[in-house]
Symmetry: D2
Subunit: 306 residues, 4 copies
């Protein structure tokens, strides 16, 4: 298995030169495009890895399933579903999407920025700093890594340049979908996007999602299986931006990517996978990462579509 | 199992009074909304059923995965993928969806009308009547029912009123995506939508999709597993119109519905399901049907998302 | 005045090399881009001209105000206004424009293709051939040129390639806005677009619109002043495609252009102008033509905005 | 003439009961819908009025032409035209309008909120408070009313609830169209919208626009005629929200309305008109006001379209 992962890293390495590092946040543009790592944690408790699997990167949109999970955990399915819909939008993740002037929950989902920003309001906490701390603590627990923390430089860069997210936030407020101070809400979101992780962290988190919310190694039930199913279903239809359909075809299991170059892959009943390579394709997904997952899925028959 | 199906029919019967029979084609408006049946064919070869499982209805959009399959079978993955994209559009199935004037494959997918009409051109045949006959023959074979045929009254009604589909066809032609005579192309599509089936037929077809293209009862390999995977992935992300996200959440396996009230459910590695009830929800999916599938999925743990 | 016109032709001649001849209809692509003419008919009955003012070209969208006028004349303001709205759409002339699935009169106007096609239904006549003949006769009368007729080659080319217009026609029919045979309706529209004219013809027609519907030279009242006002107002807001705002700013009077290169300019109370040069700008307006009108407007103080 | 105005007020009074006072800003909802006044200032220096012509209201969008004028005056036509386009958008005044993700000057115009907010950046001044003071001073001068000032309660209400305008501001910033602090920019815009005026003030301002930038009563040239023409042209195509086409048809001269119920009407070479009645039609234009202007235009032959 380690041999397979090494082969995959080798055969997909050329993709790291074909994609482009995210540049819409200045700090992300500094990423080393040659980095490429993968980590697998199976339901038998085995751990395999290859490449730069200990390199740190910011989670960016990979935090979205955790924001969704935290909101489900704190406020329940009904509240989450009422605020943020679950259909694919057919548009890029940061689009202003609304039909003829009326923004409603039907126009958004938890994997696009508008939806994820809205869900921050459903995390418990007196302040948005408290909400973020709660999210970070929960993420650390699921990743079984108490050292996870934010990248201050990326956070500062997000905050300095995140005007589109502010626009989305004020749009939510204008339509009465959230009531809180927008600068506070998006600050929570900027911090969340700036949390650092490694492939090992993503694999561990993914393994919990692949195991009905139960930690594979400790056996601890970390959250309700019904939340797990909710998140996985949304990852399948919307987890890879507007490349989710293509990913379902080529790879065939729930996954979430971020513009930092990370992807967490959830193979239900089988394994969690973390992959990282910062050069992105035109949809914002790690180019080498998606290709690595495609080969892994084919070699190990991981597609839920057979 | 038959008891479970009977319980489901009983407990979901009230939904048949809450939805609305499709009325955009006059002939469909004549359907009896109280009809409700379900049929299951498992990988062990067992067959279970309840309710009006022998009632006939027109397949309507349930034929779309078969048009896709036929196009894949006749023209290969590359040709299909080049002509018709695979991402969810975020819009109703009959929407004119294109970004700033340029209609491209990226704006359509095989489960919306535009995409399905386009795929008719990739079925082999000298004339569009030949293409349709070939599709019908293939469908009969997969359903193991040589008696399947079109409902002439519905076909005539589709043809008489299908101006939106004609508009979509001419739009495809205007953008150079298809070159053939549009009246011929949509005639093939109208015929395809008018093919009659029962729950048993849908279950049999679905069972083949759940079994890598191999007939469960005869063991015959009817088509390449890679086409099977392609179709299933698209059914998961786009099979239930713009209610596909919700369906993934509540039911959790690939499925395709039609405005005739039929749904075929593909449970990979486990079973094929056919359900029928003509009263629809606002997205165009059988209301009782979706609810029946939700209970069945929960009771038998059928969701691929655990 | 003839000197001024000659100066304008000379100073704007370079624009004929900067625009591009329309190529979406094969036959139009054959136009000679160096052609450039202008013709003016004032309220004092004076006629001035310069350049290729006798060159023939097809009217294309310049026929739209005449279709609108004919519909107003035959069916009255209420019927016209009910069927086709009057607001600018903010989109190109051939866009599929409708808000969230519902095409209504509010989404179209008489100067875009959808609106103009719809208005053909309001022209009197037993057949669409009769309707077109009536339109042609009316146009000849207003232009005081009984020899006006269609360019058969352009008409054949329009008919052979006009699939987008067919798509727009079927969309109108799908939404119940028109009921007639679409091929007949668009045939009438294709013929109308293919009517040949010269700058002198356009100037004569424009002069009638500038004079409350009365022929300047004969004094004959050709149509009701209220129809004249209706047409002029729409020409001001929508006559120059999605370049109408810019034209109002730079030129400042009602006008209508066509992709054949013609523009008719209506200067209320003062004059009618015809200009022709087939090289177009990116909005589909004659590049040299618009610049010629801008200079003429500035030199003679023709803007209604002072 | 005063008799005519009185007749108009009387015959249109019933419209004040048919429209609805703006309620999206709480403070505006307090307006008395029965108020209705009109004021005319002709090029002969005559002044006529009827009804509640001294009632004060906030200018709201009627300030937009003055923001545009101030930006033209301070930064010139090129800078204004580069930042904010001039085409009608076909959408409501507060729409998020952009084509497939790219917001450019082509998607906005000076009479919609996005455009007007952007133009605030082109007014000279060290701070946005300075810019606003400069705008107010200029407005007072053109209205020849040194007492014009903002309605503090409306301003506070705008600022407290103006989240959609904040969203539009951040969108402009996200696309690099403006760089300044958004809260400062929209504060300037909120203040501008809150300036109080009477029908007399609007008529005086309109009269200057109708007279090439020269005060009719004093003869003072207040601004360059080319700026005057620029503003008037845009008022014609975009001044009455997405009801501008209808207004051109029915009334036929440049005008600008605001949700406070005021309309200023510019009749080039003839007169300036101010009308006020806070009950609005569905497009946001004063219902009684538009009807009053229609009658006045018909009675006095004011349409530029004859």
């Amino acid at each position: 298995m380690n041999a397979l992962l090494n082969d995959i890293i080798k055969s997909c390495a050329h993709y790291t030169e074909e994609g482009a590092v995210a540049n819409y946040i200045p700090e992300l543009a500094k990423a080393d495009p040659s980095k490429f790592g993968i980590y697998v944690l199976t339901h038998f408790g085995q751990q395999f890895s290859a490449g730069d699997c200990n390199a740190e990167f910011t989670m960016q949109s990979v935090i979205k399933p955790l924001i969704l999970l935290m909101a489900l955990f704190d406020s329940g399915i009904q509240a989450v579903h009422d605020l943020v819909g679950v259909e694919a939008t057919g548009k890029p993740f940061d689009a202003f999407n609304y039909s003829d002037q009326a923004l409603t929950s039907a126009n958004i989902n938890p994997m696009i920025n508008t939806g994820s920003i809205a869900l921050c309001t459903l995390i418990k906490g007196d302040t948005y700093r408290d909400k973020f701390d709660r999210l970070l603590e929960f993420t650390r627990k699921i990743a079984a890594n108490p050292n996870m923390d934010i990248d201050e430089a990326v956070y500062a860069s997000e905050k300095a340049t995140g005007n589109k997210n502010r626009a989305l936030g004020y749009m939510l407020k204008a339509y009465g979908m959230i009531n809180d101070n927008i600068e506070d809400v998006v600050d929570c979101y900027f911090r969340a996007c700036s949390v650092k992780a490694t492939c090992a962290d993503l694999a561990r988190i993914a393994s919990v999602f692949s195991n009905k919310g139960k930690d594979i190694l400790t056996g601890e039930q970390l959250f309700d299986p019904k939340y797990c199913k909710y998140v996985n279903a949304i990852l399948m239809t919307c987890g890879m931006y507007d490349g989710s359909g293509e990913f379902a075809l080529r790879v065939g299991f729930p996954a979430k990517s971020g513009v930092g170059g990370g992807i967490m892959g959830v193979v239900p009943g089988k394994m969690g996978i973390g992959v990282f390579s910062p050069a992105l394709d035109c949809k914002g997904n790690s180019l080498a990462g998606v290709n690595a997952l495609e080969i892994l899925s084919r070699e190990l028959d991981l597609s839920v579509f057979l």
